[in-house]
């Protein structure tokens, strides 16, 4: 379990072998640089430079100079854009929507994934492969298509709406609707991850639990779940990062209902600021804030995971 623990992941340098000459080591260093270079260049050009550029842009704003004939000029506003974003009620609303989404989606989706993984793992169930493949399939559906399928299913003539006590495309129904779309897409993927982790639980541990008289439920809850806790934390981190980026589902639903505002989620807010309001400074500031919140939450989850697995 090394996905997110750099200190453990960084490998110990191999001790110098008696046969290894200084020349050989130099050759290896050169080859290492050559092999790592393409990715290092890509990473710099498409991740590091854009982050730096976003930080820079977030400190400026476009002002029309004079009568506006000479085009806009950039003016340094220090943290002004951040103040604008942080005091914007539309931004608050988008954060509120995503916070609610996270609070509902994560327990339901990961809980269901864990439950299904435990059920499939318990030896009683036949056709394991068929069940797991069926539940996994929605992951293979592009998010845009997932959004479209459910948008049609939510529309009044599908017949599904008759089963629901609320309108899935209405003002109050839209959040549960989006939660459902994301849950449908990700539950199978996480179930497979949990299931694979469960299969790595040593069989003699389970034998011992059975010998001590623990039933299936007790074994699952007190033996299996604690043993796959690190995997669950990783899944949690990725789900949190994914949830904060919520964009495609609300954007697709926007075409079918007026209940989704143009700034419904923080990512939509960034998109609106950049491409509809053409306010790049404010959009950059919102992007930086979004990245910061993601980093802080991931760090928090990792801290918790490190403490728990000790």
């Amino acid at each position: 379990m090394t996905v997110l623990t750099p200190e453990r992941a960084a490998s110990v340098p191999a001790p110098a072998r008696p046969g290894a000459t200084a020349q050989g080591r130099r050759g290896r260093g050169r080859a290492g640089l050559v092999l790592a270079a393409p990715f290092a260049i890509l990473l710099t050009a498409t991740v590091l430079v854009p982050i730096g550029y976003a930080l820079y842009l977030s400190l400026f704003t476009d002002r029309l100079s004079g009568l506006g004939f000479s085009g806009p000029t950039q003016a340094f506003v220090a943290l002004g854009n951040y103040v604008d974003v942080l005091t914007d009620s539309a931004f608050h609303a988008s954060l509120g929507n995503v916070a609610l989404f996270v609070l509902i989606h994560i327990p339901i989706m990961l809980g269901l994934a864990l439950l299904l993984a435990l059920l499939i793992d318990s030896a009683v169930v036949r056709l394991k492969r068929v069940w797991s493949l069926a539940v996994f399939l929605p992951y293979a559906v592009p998010t845009v298509i997932t959004g479209l399928i459910w948008a049609y299913l939510y529309s009044p003539n599908s017949g599904l709406t008759a089963l629901l006590p609320f309108d899935p495309l209405g003002k109050t129904g839209i959040l549960p609707s989006i939660v459902n779309i994301a849950t449908w897409q990700w539950v199978g993927y996480n179930m497979i991850i949990f299931y694979t982790a469960l299969q790595a639980v040593p069989r003699d541990v389970l034998e011992a639990a059975r010998a001590d008289g623990a039933g299936g439920f007790r074994t699952a809850w007190s033996v299996k779940v604690p043993m796959i806790r690190p995997t669950m934390f990783v899944a949690l981190v990725f789900t949190v990062i994914g949830s904060l980026q919520l964009f495609t589902e609300p954007l697709v639903l926007r075409g079918f209902t007026g209940s989704v505002t143009s700034t419904w989620s923080p990512s939509l807010y960034v998109y609106e600021a950049a491409f509809i309001a053409n306010d790049y400074g404010r959009a950059a500031a919102a992007s930086v804030l979004l990245a910061l919140v993601s980093a802080l939450l991931s760090a928090l989850v990792m801290r918790l995971s490190a403490r728990r697995s000790r």
């Binding site: 854009p50 976003a54 399928i149």
Partner: protein, 269 residues
């Protein structure tokens, strides 16, 4: 217990069944028949309409998706394999720093990167071109992380030592000895990068304006924004969606052993 699994499988599969039945309906039947009923069988007509709409632009979308995802995943997984192998097996200056930055790259949300990427691309005057979408999608930090794990597990140091003793150069050793040993891992990285690019929507949405360069997801999204005004777009969107989903579903069914072991190595170490 079984009931719960059956329910979960139905929940997962029924919307896909709906996609199949709906793709066979005519525009009229679509709004008058039930969600899972069959209407008059018009799949042929729908497919015909799909491929002739706007001078067959859908064919271009298929080609673009295959090009972005296929070429992007082949090149991307090779780049990941080289870098992951170098970090795992070769001592070069800056290797720890590179790995640390790579892990950070895994955690940065892509939507937060899209805007600065767009602005950079517009400074370089490549917005609206194939490259503006293709190059950022090649970058796959998680793939490098996985490649490092695979290289560590699958390529024994003794084999490399033996190759060196025989006088093989480091690069040749990588391509002829290490790369084949990492093949199962590479297939997994390829598969996930392919799915990632196939599904990617935000970057093309931001970068592209010419429909001829769209991947399928962006094209279908654009059509879907017209359905409330023009119901004749419904069968186009639905039949197109079915065609966009099918190859991935088939790939996952055929390759399920491969991706299962891949997930295992990525998450349970």
């Amino acid at each position: 217990m079984h009931v719960l699994l059956v329910l979960a499988a139905l929940y997962a599969v029924l919307p896909l069944v709906w996609l199949v039945t709906s793709a066979t309906k005519s525009v009229g039947d679509f709004s008058t028949t039930g969600a899972f009923e069959f209407g008059q069988f018009s799949l042929g007509a729908n497919l015909g309409a799909l491929f002739t709409q706007e001078n067959g632009v859908f064919l271009a979308w298929i080609r673009n998706s295959l090009l972005y995802a296929g070429l992007g995943a082949v090149l991307g997984s090779l780049i990941c394999a080289a870098c992951g192998y170098a970090i795992a097996k070769l001592d070069f200056p800056g290797r720890r720093a590179l790995f640390a930055v790579t892990l950070t790259g895994v955690l940065v949300p892509t939507t937060a990167l899209a805007l600065p990427l767009y602005l950079l691309a517009s400074q370089l005057e490549v917005v609206g071109t194939f490259w503006a979408v293709f190059i950022p999608l090649l970058t796959n930090p998680f793939g490098v992380y996985l490649a490092r794990v695979y290289a560590e597990a699958a390529v024994p140091g003794e084999v490399l030592e033996a190759a060196r003793t025989d006088g093989a150069g480091e690069l040749r050793t990588f391509f002829t000895i290490a790369l084949p040993m990492m093949r199962p891992g590479l297939v997994t990285i390829f598969l996930f990068q392919f799915v990632g690019i196939w599904n990617n929507f935000f970057l093309p949405l931001v970068m592209l304006t010419d429909p001829k360069l769209f991947p399928m997801s962006l094209g279908l999204y654009q059509w879907s924004t017209r359905v409330t005004q023009f119901p004749q777009y419904n069968p186009l969107v639905i039949t197109g969606s079915l065609l966009a989903v099918l190859p991935l579903v088939v790939a996952f069914v055929l390759l399920h052993r491969q991706w299962r072991s891949g997930l295992a190595a990525g998450s349970v170490k």
